[in-house]
């Protein structure tokens, strides 16, 4: 009897264990957090003075046309640096959901359409968009030059204040980027489990909830979710049509990546341009080689899944309110609705109720609980 019980227990343990292939797939989602590496295209990256300047600018409402909209209007610290709206509202409502700026430093492309190839160039976009903050280089430069504390901090970071308004504006964007590079999510229950699995730490493995383990197994196995949501940030950083309609309203569509590549190539602020501080253009490989194809129409960037539970609503247009709504979409998505030119990645997952519960349990373990940010205490004015 005891021998039978032991055999049954061994069989159950074996069934619950992850295969070598699963372990490799799970290990690819770490380690976390990644080490900081300065952005060579931004000479202010990693600079303490630039981070302090960028933080002030991030919360500065006077950098908008009506003096009421700051970056933090949509990127709210207490909401995982997003806003809870389906589509962001600056000076007016825009077409897309606010992407969180948590972990933004690890991205290759920025925004849902990847129209920018650096965090500093991406930081210019909302400043200049008439529906978001609605200012221009002249107004930004005038404000910074006339604000004694900001002007002093600007000179501390970049040296002399440039005579060209546009160069001042790019400096502002680079300071904003330096600040945003500091916004990283923390360790999660998943990270503890992942590291325990890699080390063979039985107690650490056992501490991870069983339903999350089942959800994770589905994620890297039957669901193949890790084809796109791969790597430590749970994103491949690239663009896909996931069957979410790209009609914005009657007569207006969102072309997504297709227009994003065209904007990137046309931008004087891309990494091939004169504002890249890296003479070697070492981070411009993607910009040089990016391929524009018909299938890019309606593609949007794969978002990170870290702190996902804190980032509702979901998808590029905020059309899915809850994680269960997102899973329902992938459970029932029709490949016929995709604009994929024969690409064969998505298929309906046909999730059972238990599989949905398990996936939600797993996805919730990717959150660090939020609210790790504390605004730096106001330092003495720069003189």
């Amino acid at each position: 009897m005891k021998r039978w019980l032991a055999l049954l227990l061994a069989a159950a343990t074996q069934a619950a264990a992850f295969t070598d292939e699963e372990v490799r797939a799970i290990a690819a989602h770490g380690p976390w957090p990644p080490a900081f590496a300065p952005d060579p295209s931004n000479r202010a990256s990693g600079s303490k003075d630039a981070i302090e300047l960028g933080e002030r600018l991030f919360f500065e409402r006077r950098l908008s046309a009506n003096g009421a909209v700051s970056c933090s209007r949509c990127h709210i610290p207490e909401r995982n640096w997003t806003d809870g709206e389906a589509r962001a509202i600056g000076l007016a409502r825009v077409d897309r959901n606010t992407m969180s700026v948590t972990n933004v430093r690890v991205q290759r492309w920025f925004g849902w359409d990847g129209a920018n190839d650096s965090l500093w160039a991406q930081s210019l976009r909302p400043l200049l968009d008439a529906r978001e903050m609605g200012v221009d280089a002249s107004r930004i430069a005038k404000f910074v030059r006339q604000h004694a504390d900001l002007a002093c901090r600007y000179r501390r970071v970049f040296g002399a204040m440039p005579s060209e308004d546009e160069a001042v504006m790019v400096g502002v964007a680079k300071a904003l980027a330096a600040f945003q590079e500091t916004l990283s999510s923390g360790r999660t229950a998943f990270d503890e489990f992942r590291d325990a699995l890699v080390k063979g730490d039985a107690a650490g493995i056992a501490a991870y909830p069983e339903d999350a383990k089942r959800g994770l197994r589905f994620f890297v196995g039957k669901g193949s979710c890790n084809v796109c949501h791969v790597g430590p940030a749970f994103t491949n950083g690239e663009f896909h049509d996931t069957g979410i309609p790209f009609f914005i309203e009657q007569g207006r569509v969102d072309p997504g990546r297709h227009a994003g590549i065209q904007k990137l190539r046309a931008s004087e602020f891309n990494l091939l341009g004169r504002y890249n501080d890296d003479a070697r253009r070492s981070t411009a490989t993607g910009t040089t080689h990016v391929r524009l194809e018909h299938r890019n129409f309606g593609e949007f960037r794969t978002p990170s899944l870290r702190n996902l539970a804190l980032s509702a609503p979901y998808m590029h247009n905020g059309s899915r309110e809850t994680l269960r709504d997102v899973l329902d979409h992938y459970s029932t998505v029709s490949p016929d609705r995709l604009h994929a030119d024969g690409e064969a990645i998505l298929r309906a997952l046909n999730l059972t109720a238990r599989e949905t519960d398990d996936l939600v349990a797993f996805l919730e373990t990717l959150s660090d609980g939020g609210a790790t940010y504390r605004r730096r205490p106001s330092a003495a004015d720069c003189r």
């Binding site: 796109c228 791969v230 491949n236 950083g237 993607g286 080689h289 391929r291 299938r295 690409e343 990645i345």
Partner: protein
């Protein structure tokens, strides 16, 4: 007419490399792709073709890379392709497209990326 003997003489100095052969040509290449990172492929083609292009393809997904590699001729039938990036884990294929004597041929080699 080029014989197989000429194709077999292909070499790529600098360490272990993979070889793909067709009845008329050999490609010897070296690459160390890592998921989600740009990488380069160094390769030699023997005999030297009139033109060469490098690409990659995910047959199960029926899509290629999101980037167009650029090939630089280094002389002596050696080349360097830059700008490749595998953005998904799984089975990929390197594709070398050779143009010689008015004809085009594709030399293909699969690899798994994790």
């Amino acid at each position: 007419m080029l014989g197989a003997g000429a194709a077999l003489a292909c070499e790529l100095p600098g360490g272990p490399a993979q070889t793909i052969r067709s009845p008329t040509h050999s490609v010897v290449y070296r690459a160390a792709p890592r998921l989600g990172e740009h990488f380069a492929v160094e390769f030699a083609v023997c005999p030297a073709p009139e033109g060469v292009r490098v690409d990659a393809w995910m047959p199960a997904h029926r899509h290629g890379m999101n980037y167009v590699p650029a090939v630089k001729a280094l002389g002596g039938g050696r080349y360097r392709a830059e700008g490749l990036l595998f953005h998904m884990p799984g089975e990929w294929e390197f594709v070398f497209v050779l143009r010689a004597h008015g004809a085009t041929q594709r030399l293909v080699r699969g690899l798994r990326v994790e």
